[in-house]
């Protein structure tokens, strides 16, 4: 479903290398965790996937689509097939939880009826139905991240990309977020997650890619956190 073909990324005209000839595949419905030290290239890898940054060399395929040959005007449409979750949540501060989620649907051109039906369902899934009308600053970190996850899944994307989703959360919130991601994966959505959290990896027991200095140094089918 996702195929990285010898992808390299160089910043500052060759001074710093973020990715070196990365090649790997992700199958549909897989749950892949990417681990590695800070600066190992995890976030850069995910940026390639949502076309926020272009590789210096190599190609990234989403099914048969070469992501970096998509014309700029068609990018929004492509991004709607991917749900994204970030360490710093990236919620819209002047919109309520409900509006943050419905915004993703509105941007996707869904009807008002669909929005009225799907947003409460998504909130239900992340167990935040009672906080629908709170603004982000009125929510805890874990709640914000759950809103972000609800927003990511509400358009039923093919894949969820989570960049250190638990990085800012306490252990309980971390547990909740990971359980939700697992549930989403069980429902049939591919999930790619980067993390620093050993506990999360060990508990998941899924495929783990270990990165170091821009390379994939390990690829384990049953996840353990080894650095």
């Amino acid at each position: 479903m996702i195929y990285f073909d010898k992808v390299s990324k160089v910043y500052n005209g060759g001074q710093s290398t973020a990715l070196r000839e990365i090649t790997f595949q992700v199958a549909p419905k897989e749950f892949v965790s990417i681990v590695g030290h800070s600066g190992a290239g995890k976030s850069t890898l995910l940026k390639m996937l949502i076309a926020e940054d272009a590789p210096t060399d190599g190609q990234v395929f989403f099914e048969s689509l070469n992501i970096h040959s998509i014309p700029r005007g068609k990018l929004p449409k492509f991004r709607r097939r991917i749900g994204t979750v970030f360490q710093d949540f990236k919620l819209l501060p002047h919109k309520t939880a409900f509006e943050n989620i419905s915004f993703a649907m509105e941007a996707n051109g869904r009807t008002d009826e669909e929005i009225a039906e799907n947003v409460p369902q998504a909130l239900e899934l992340v167990d935040l139905a009672d906080k629908a009308w709170n603004f982000p600053h009125e929510l805890s970190g874990g709640e914000k991240q759950r809103v972000a996850i609800a927003r990511a899944i509400v358009n039923q994307p093919d894949i969820i990309i989570a960049d250190e989703p638990t990085g800012n959360l306490d252990p309980i919130a971390t547990y909740e977020v990971v359980q939700i991601l697992k549930k989403i994966n069980d429902l049939g959505t591919t999930v790619i997650m980067t993390t620093h959290n050993k506990g999360v990896i060990d508990e998941l027991g899924k495929r783990v890619l270990t990165m170091d200095e821009g390379r994939i140094v390990r690829d384990d089918e049953d996840g353990r956190y080894v650095l």
Binding site: I50, A51, E52, R72, G73, L75, P76, K77, F78, R79, R80, I82, T84, K90, L91, L92, P93, H94, K95, F103, A104, E106, A107, N108, G109, T111, D112, R151, N155
Partner: protein, 306 residues
């Protein structure tokens, strides 16, 4: 299509309300800028009218000898009128001159008595010659000189031309008018340019605070139109509200200034404000809306680049 438009409008309005501080700050700055533009317009009008007034007060008077016949006077009048520099020639006949003199001295008993004792009208007819531009009086004066001293000047009917008496003040006035005209133009251009720049930068800052939001919207897959729309609407609203506020501030000021300008400049600024209200309103509010719209489009575009 319609749903998208509806959503953009709603999102624009909601953003306007929820971003209270940014909205208020932008409106405040835009109000000041539009107020400056409005004041500049009013001042420009006032200046133009008073310069016109001053120009109209300048003329050359040609005094005829009392024996001058109507034919002589009329032929000079016609030849003056045929000059390209001359805008108008007004004839004051001997009788009119006498009447004006009497009117002017109606309280001055000895003068009137002296006049009656004379028995006949001592005043000659005169022509008031007005040029299109104050700098053209020299040419007219030269022409009149020719009439006085040139061929057949022996039996000239012209008694006196007052240009030379006033030459210095006319020239001074001409240079003052020119200087005021061009410097006020520069000052106005600068004021308007500064207002536009300030507005533009304020909106850019306002949208700068939303750059994170814009990047989030992009990541969620919102199209550029969908992201830009609400900001454009907000820019238009800032302009509209600021324009109306600027007009509301100008109104009492002009109302208060009106009578004062009427006595000083012989021109009531308030009457102008009222009679030209539609165009004033259109210019101020229209400038606001256009500025808001253009600034927000340009500012958002910066953050829409992938």
């Amino acid at each position: 299509m319609w749903t998208g438009f509806k959503r953009i409008v709603r999102s624009g309005f909601v953003g306007f309300w929820r971003n209270t501080f940014v909205s208020l700050a932008s409106i405040f700055v835009m109000t000041v800028a539009l107020f400056v533009i409005g004041s500049t317009m009013l001042l420009g009008q006032l200046l133009e009218v008073s310069l016109d007034n001053i120009k109209n007060k300048v003329d050359i008077n040609v005094y005829f000898v009392t024996e001058a016949s109507d034919d002589d006077i009329n032929s000079l009048k016609t030849s003056l009128e045929s000059l390209s520099e001359v805008e108008s020639v007004a004839l004051t006949t001997r009788e009119e001159a006498l009447q004006q003199f009497k009117d002017r001295h109606v309280e001055d008993e000895p003068t009137i008595q002296a006049l009656e004792e004379l028995g006949e009208n001592p005043l000659g007819a005169s022509l008031a010659v007005r040029a299109g531009n104050t700098s053209q009086y020299q040419g007219i004066s030269d022409f009149l000189d020719e009439q006085q001293t040139g061929e057949g000047a022996q039996n000239s009917v012209i008694y006196r031309v007052n240009y030379l008496d006033n030459k210095e003040s006319i020239e001074k006035l001409t240079s003052i008018i020119d200087a005021v005209d061009s410097s006020s133009f520069i000052v106005m251009i600068v004021l308007v340019a500064v207002s536009i720049l300030i507005t533009f930068n304020t909106l850019r800052l306002a949208i700068y605070t939303s750059r994170e939001e814009i990047s989030v919207m992009r990541l969620v897959g919102a199209s550029n139109t969908f992201i830009r729309g609400p900001f454009m609407l907000q820019g238009v609203m800032y302009g509209l509200v600021s324009g109306v506020i600027a007009i509301l501030i100008l109104y009492p000021i002009v109302l208060w200034l009106g009578p004062k300008t009427a006595t000083f400049f012989q021109y009531n600024l308030f009457d102008y404000f009222v009679s030209d209200f539609v165009s004033m309103f259109a210019v101020i509010v229209g400038t606001g809306i256009a500025l808001g719209l253009v600034s927000s489009i340009m500012a958002v575009s910066r953050y829409l680049r992938v």
